[in-house]
């Protein structure tokens, strides 16, 4: 479970203090795949930043599996979290081969030692894993990541982020930089992976259709407040038109 408890956060601007969160409460359960939408400045990225430690709230607490993670060193926090970024180059090491990247992800959480990085069984095992994706990546194990396409890199980034099942998976507009066809492919893979492994997931997206199609809970943020929180039946019955109307509600 991920919990935000009474989060307060304000920023100093030229026009004085601007309040973003005033007592935000949000809890996300295991097995929930949350899609999160909201305009720029609604607070989506700030929530992500508070989880990974790039931003501290003025007041309140963030708990992962009932343990406060606010003062935990960043790398220890990230050991428990998987993250896929918008930039396909961000989630993999371009100068290392696909096999080498997979080997690194495979050893996530292990004490770094002087053992050989690539286990004997690795090549066959990663081959199988990649074959399931149907992108032909199993034949590119010895290709440097930078020579793969954006879609391929992003798929590998997703596989790497979930290889050692994380407690939480954060997807930060991870298909925004891809063409529609590739984006759909990756979203389908995402959904399949998340369901198969039962990973608690938050996906930030600007695509309202994706937000309604994928996942099992939809949260809409506006000016630091949750204005819509749809699960199960309510979410199924919610139409695209309603969502659009809600999203473009004039700010009073």
């Amino acid at each position: 479970m991920l919990e935000f408890r009474k989060i307060h956060k304000s920023f100093q601007t030229l026009h004085g203090e601007q309040v973003l969160f005033s007592g935000l409460d949000l809890s996300i359960q295991k097995n929930e795949f949350v899609t999160m939408v909201g305009n720029n400045g609604a607070g989506k990225s700030s929530l992500f930043k508070m989880i990974v430690g790039d931003m501290q709230p003025d007041d309140g607490d963030v708990l992962l599996e009932n343990q406060s993670i606010l003062s935990m060193p960043t790398h220890l926090k990230k050991a428990r979290i998987g993250k896929v970024y918008q930039d396909p180059a961000a989630g993999t090491v371009g100068s290392m081969t696909l096999l080498e990247n997979m080997a690194l992800a495979d050893r996530k959480g292990e004490h770094v030692s002087l053992r050989f990085a690539i286990r004997k069984s690795a090549r066959a095992r990663y081959g199988e894993l990649l074959k399931d994706l149907g992108l032909g990546l199993e034949n590119k194990l010895d290709t440097p990541m930078r020579e793969l396409s954006g879609g391929q890199r992003q798929t590998v980034a997703l596989v790497m982020a979930t290889m050692k099942t994380p407690q939480l998976l954060l997807l930060d507009e991870h298909t925004a930089a891809l063409d529609p066809k590739t984006a759909k492919l990756i979203l389908d893979k995402t959904q399949a992976l998340v369901e198969e492994k039962g990973i608690m997931t938050i996906m930030v997206t600007h695509n309202l259709k994706d937000a309604l199609t994928y996942g099992n809970r939809l949260i809409m943020l506006r000016e630091g407040k949750i204005v819509e929180d749809l699960k199960e039946k309510a979410r199924e019955q919610f139409s695209m038109e309603e969502l659009l109307a809600k999203f473009y509600l004039p700010v009073v």
Binding site: H75, K78, A105, R115, F116
Partner: protein, 280 residues
């Protein structure tokens, strides 16, 4: 200058180039500490020899001293958040005083003490053996989990952090390793030439870079070549170029200018051609 002594020097300086390859190419960190730590290696090696230690003990002590020097640069950069180039310059300047302290005077002749190259025989064999051991150990290290983390760190530190690893600690380790090798090379060089001198390290980074880039330009057409091989071949070719320059009437004091010029030409050519290695 004969071919054999060029090969000997090329290999000794090649160990230094392997070190710079680790900091500059793998960690993507232009580390100026090496201009100090090369001389530190010579100083430590000389003082071990003067107090009766063996030649091998002397270069192992140099390796350790270089490791400490590099770790300090890493510590200043990773924990003190000081810019990398500046952190290297600070430690390099600091090392100048430390090197003088270690040596007690600006120059220690080693003609009277026993060391690796005290007898003039079998030098090439000794140098080849030491270089091959160093090269193979570095090759092996780069295939370990820790080696992979270092390689990933220089390219994309976010991935390393995402794996739950503190990037700072590995920067410190990598710079320690790089400077350890540079200092070891300095220790070997002082024994080879028969004296340690406080000014030995000047231009180490530029020399190392010139060697690496020469090696890369020559070997990249052969597909996959171990980066340690690139450093060793580049270092040898660089010595040949310097010897040629001397042969055609340049003074030894002109060599730094020649080095700077060679590096400049290669860098501009690489940028123009848009070479794979134009990552400077």
């Amino acid at each position: 200058m004969d071919f054999l002594s060029l090969l000997e020097q090329g290999l000794i300086f090649g160990i230094m180039a392997i070190g710079i390859l680790i900091s500059f190419r793998i960690l993507n960190f232009p580390d100026l500490t090496v201009d100090g730590s090369f001389a530190t290696g010579a100083a430590v090696s000389a003082s071990v020899l003067m107090s009766g230690g063996s030649g091998i003990m002397a270069i192992l002590a140099a390796l350790a001293a270089g490791f400490v020097a590099g770790s300090i640069t890493g510590l200043i950069h990773a924990k003190g958040k000081v810019d990398g180039i500046l952190a290297g310059i600070l430690v390099m300047i600091g090392l100048y005083s430390i090197n003088l302290r270690i040596m007690g005077k600006p120059n220690i002749p080693l003609f009277a003490v026993n060391h690796l190259f005290a007898s003039k025989e079998g030098n090439l064999l000794k140098i080849v053996m030491i270089t091959i051991v160093v090269k193979l150990l570095v090759d092996l290290f780069l295939r370990t989990h820790a080696g992979f983390v270092l390689r990933a760190l220089g390219d994309n530190s976010r991935v390393v952090e995402g794996l739950g690893i503190d990037p700072g600690n590995f920067k410190i380790l990598g710079l320690g390793l790089a400077n350890g090798l540079v200092a070891m090379s300095g220790g070997l060089m002082s024994q080879y030439q028969g004296f340690a001198d406080i000014s030995m390290g000047i231009g180490t980074l530029v020399t190392g870079l010139a060697s690496i880039i020469l090696g890369e330009s020559l070997l990249k057409r052969f597909g996959f070549v171990a980066i340690t091989t690139i450093a060793l071949v580049g270092s040898f070719v660089y010595r040949v170029i310097l010897a040629t320059a001397l042969h055609y009437g340049l003074e030894p004091s002109d060599l730094k200018l020649v080095t700077a010029f060679i590096l400049l030409v290669i860098l501009i050519l690489e940028k123009k051609v848009g070479g794979k290695y134009a990552r400077v």
